[in-house]
Symmetry: C2
Subunit: 331 residues, 2 copies
């Protein structure tokens, strides 16, 4: 096995976030469950956008944020995702490349624009998302570069990508290539509504031994297992993946690997402004630590530091120098 | 003269801002003068964008920000500006309408996309701008609705609009319509480089008695008059416009009208994050006060309050409830 060229190669929906402030009454009037992500069609995306307040745009997408986080930490990251040949596609590729991520998926015309995620940020800093997948749902298996996958220490996949058919197939092929090359496969359950849509598929991946590192939060692990008790839920899954990482918001995070268990507290944050990207950046920190041979606890700490930075400002990508932050706090 | 339907009708470049962090070394390497606004063509816009870091997008444009500010203050505002039928055009019209501004200029295909302004924000919160005017430079005089102009208490124009030919003609027509309807005409000098490009045109407007309210900052008023002494500079212009308003950053602002002179201090700000939009929001506050019959000093205070809000966060449009802020601080 040759030395990997990339630390983390992420495959995900290439999405531009459209963030607007909203209050609880607006969510209620729109029938939106706070903190959820739902998929919407072009018609609903347009309708909701018309009702939303003034917005700010910034590149996003769960796995894209993670790739950006790995690069900001000083790691070598790649991203695969489908954009259209339009202005939002340009914005997406500019942002991810300018933070240092290798992004070579060519824009293509599938008759639908670049994906966007309408994110309503409530005063409690929670985000409620309506995603129009557009071009992202057409990512074809042919967009994968097998050599790039073979050269990456960790292949990272988002559960959200399970929704549309083409990227699901691409993801399954990518897993096979990574495993054949003896690379690690990491997977995030994304969110509880996503698990409701794809529980069987996710369990098949996990029970089939395809996942080396599984990311979940408390709600997701209980949704997946049907266990409301946290310890029971993690016990049910821990034996089926090499490494299980569960984030618990302000209660920190837990990782289990074989008989080993590590826990860290949440990093202190002056003011939580917008929780968009918290899980994505936690995964970035953990994966970067993992790719660089850090201990389970150190990788959790790097995850917690990266997550704390991203929730202290608007937007789902790091703004501070994460590499310096980690060096300062962890050494 | 009938009661006006709108407090302020602004005509300006319809622009989406693309904001990225940069350091002084980057500005120097790019040969950019800190705090300036320059016009760039499509080629240079693309080249600079490729060199810039990850960015955030938000609707901007000087007069557009002012119209948004008037609406956020509880005023009735309108905006006229040219967008293309593309994603950034959609973003622009969504944002300005969702804040409550009347915006009816139809998108048109002039073979060039919606304007964007690449804004580099340095750690000292200053912004350095490179504007690609795109569709905005094609605003035709036919896009004006004479009735809308006649129904607006104040017509507000930005000096930046003097750069491209078509909007300059539109602006001159709008001034004539407003004057015939006995409405006030307000004008901002925009920035010192803009004055260098158009000193003669601006002086002709001022000396011709076409301007009721002139906005400038310290640098601009000295650039226009050639007087480095502040008092000498304002004396040189004060007699030629009904009302002269000069902002002085952290030193506050001064207004002169006939023999009257009012001064206010700058409003306190916890931390200056990004000065983009400071002058635009100051103008919004002053014009709103003026349209609602406030005293010269009160109008300056409203301007200072609106400007302080916008520099305390990223982006050039208000995020807080300006109406409530003014009620709280001014009554």
């Amino acid at each position: 096995m040759t030395e990997p060229r990339l630390d983390v190669l992420a495959i995900g929906n290439a999405i531009v976030d459209v963030l607007a402030d909203a209050d609880d009454a607006f969510l209620e009037a729109e029938g939106l469950a706070k903190g959820s992500m739902r998929l919407v069609d072009a018609h609903e995306a347009t309708r909701l956008y018309e009702h939303m307040g003034p917005a700010r745009e910034a590149s996003g997408g769960s796995a894209g944020n993670t790739a950006a986080g790995v690069a900001a930490l000083g790691g070598r990251a790649g991203f695969i995702g489908q954009i259209a040949d339009d202005q939002l596609g340009e914005v997406f590729s500019h942002d991810i490349r300018s933070i240092g991520v290798e992004f070579e998926t060519p824009p293509q015309d599938f008759g639908t624009p670049t994906a966007r995620c309408l994110i309503l940020v409530t005063p409690d800093a929670q985000r409620t998302m309506s995603t129009f997948l557009g071009a992202a749902q057409h990512l074809p298996p042919e967009a994968l570069d097998p050599v790039q996958i073979e050269q990456s220490a960790i292949l990272y996949l988002e559960g959200y990508l399970w929704d549309p058919e083409a990227p699901r197939m691409a993801m399954q092929q990518a897993i096979e290539i990574a495993r054949a090359a003896k690379r690690k496969v990491a997977f995030t359950l994304s969110d509880s509504f996503c698990i409701q849509r794809h529980r069987d598929g996710f369990l098949k991946l996990i029970q089939g031994g395809f996942i080396d590192i599984l990311f979940a939060n408390e709600v997701e692990i209980s949704e997946l297992t049907g266990e409301s008790d946290f310890e029971a839920a993690i016990r049910a899954i821990a034996g089926q993946v090499r490494t299980l990482v569960v984030t618990r918001s302000e209660k920190g995070a837990v990782a289990l690997r074989g008989g080993e268990r590590a826990e860290v507290a949440a990093e202190p944050v002056e003011a939580v402004v917008d929780t968009t990207g918290a899980g994505d950046l936690f995964a970035a920190g953990f994966l970067f630590g993992e790719a660089r041979g850090r201990s389970l606890e150190e990788s959790l700490r790097i995850g917690a530091i990266a997550a704390a930075e991203v929730i202290s400002h608007y937007g789902a990508r790091p703004q501070a120098d994460l590499k310096a932050l980690v060096a300062e706090r962890l050494g």
